[in-house]
Amino acid sequence: MTCEDAERLVEAYADGELALEGTLALEGHVDRCEACAARLVRVRVLKDALRAVPSFRAPEALAAHVRATVAAAPPRHAPAMWTRRRRWQPWLAAAASLAVVSLGLMAVVRQRASLADAATTEAVIEGHVRSLMAGHLTDVASTDRHTVKPWFAGRVDFSPTVVDLASDGFPLIGGRLDYINHHAAAALVYKHREHAINVFAWPQASGAPSHVTRSDARGYHVISWTRGGVVVWIVSDLALAELEQFATRLDAAMHD
C-alpha cells in the first residue's frame, strides 16, 4: 500500500468502514510508515474530541408533544390477524370503527409486540453468550456455504439462506442448531476480526410487518428484520456501525 492509498483509506479505517482486506493492508502500512501513523493519530484525536461534545436531548415538552402527535395519528397497519378477522366478520368491522375499541385494541397489540421483541432480544443475546461461553459456536464448522446449508435439512423446518460474506470482511465460520423462544432456529456464525456474530433465522409465524430494531443490552447490539417470510436476528459485541454494515451486506446477499 502506498501513502496515497493510506491517506485515502485512513478515515474509513478509523470509522470502522474498511473491509478486512483494506484493514489489514492499512494496518500493515501504518506499522511501517510514521507519516501515515501520525495521520491516523490525528483522525483519532479529532474523533475523541468530537466525542466530548454532548448531544442535544429532546426537551420533555417536545417529547410530550410528539407522543401526542403519534398517538393521534390513525393506526397505519393493522396486524394481519386482525385484518383477516375483520374481513370475515363484518360485525367486528363495525365494532372496530368505534375509535375507543380500535385504539384500545391497537394499544394492547402494540404493547404485546414490543414485549415479544424485548423477550426475543433477551433470548438471542442469551443464545449468543451461551454459544461463546460453552465453546459451542458451531455444530457444523465450515466456511463453505454449500456444506453449511444442507446440514440444516431435517434439523429446522425451513431451508435457511446461507451466504458467504468473506469478501466483505465477515467470513462464515459455520452453523448451529439453537432454540429461541421455544422454536428451533438456524444459527449461522460469522466472524469479523476476533468478534463472533450470531445470525438466528426462523420462518415467520404470522404476517408481522418487516421491522428493524436495535437494542443495546449488556454491550451487545441486536438488529432484526423480517423479509421473504424469514425472521432474522443478529447479535454481536461488534461496534454498532460495523454490525449495521454486516446487516446491510447480509440482507442484500440473502435477497440477491
Partner: protein
C-alpha cells in the same frame, strides 16, 4: 414499524435538528413537523433502516424551514445558523471556550451545513457511510469526501484555537 420505535429515535431527530437549525425553538418546530410528515408517509417506509429514514425526513424539514426563513427574512442559511450561538465572545466566554467540548462544538457549528450534517450523523449519531448517504441523498463517495473535508476544517480550526493564549 411501531410507534414506539418511531418515538425511540426522538433524541436523534432532535439532535440533528438542533445542529442544523442552530437554536432549540426552530429545532423543536422542525422535529414536530418531521414526525407529522413521517406519520403521514409511514406507509412508504419499506423495511430498511428506520432511524436513517426518519433522520432524512428531519433533514428535509430543516432545509425546508431554512428556505422558508430565507424567503421571509432574506437571511442566508449561515446567518440564520449563527444568529444565536456565535455571538462575539466576552472574556468569560473565552474562558469557557477553553473547555474542549465547547471549542469543538463551536468549530462544528462553523462548518458549512453540508459538512456539519455529515459530522453530526457520523460522529454524534454513529451512522454508517451507507446510512448517511441515504439520509443526505448523496453517493457514499460524496459522503466520504465531505467527511474528509469537514475533518480537515475541524482540525485546522482546533489547531488554530489551541495556539491562542
Amino acid at each position: 414499524m411501531s410507534d414506539e420505535q418511531l418515538l425511540s429515535h426522538l433524541d436523534a431527530a432532535y439532535n440533528l435538528a438542533r445542529w442544523l437549525m442552530g437554536n432549540s425553538a426552530d429545532a423543536e418546530d422542525v422535529v414536530q413537523e418531521a414526525y407529522v410528515r413521517a406519520l403521514a408517509g409511514a406507509d412508504r417506509f419499506r423495511g430498511g433502516d428506520q432511524r436513517a429514514w426518519l433522520l432524512a425526513i428531519v433533514r428535509n424539514a430543516c432545509y425546508s424551514s431554512h428556505r422558508r426563513q430565507r424567503v421571509r427574512q432574506a437571511t442566508d442559511f449561515d446567518e440564520t445558523m449563527h444568529g444565536e450561538d456565535t455571538v462575539t465572545p466576552s472574556p468569560e466566554q473565552r474562558a469557557i471556550d477553553r473547555d474542549t467540548g465547547r471549542r469543538v462544538r463551536l468549530a462544528v457549528e462553523r462548518l458549512a451545513p453540508d459538512f456539519r450534517e455529515v459530522i453530526v450523523l457520523r460522529e454524534f449519531e454513529g451512522l454508517s457511510y451507507k446510512q448517511i448517504a441515504d439520509v443526505v441523498a448523496a453517493p457514499v463517495g460524496t459522503v466520504m469526501s465531505r467527511l474528509s473535508r469537514a475533518r480537515a476544517q475541524l482540525q485546522a480550526a482546533l489547531t488554530e484555537d489551541g495556539g491562542r493564549p
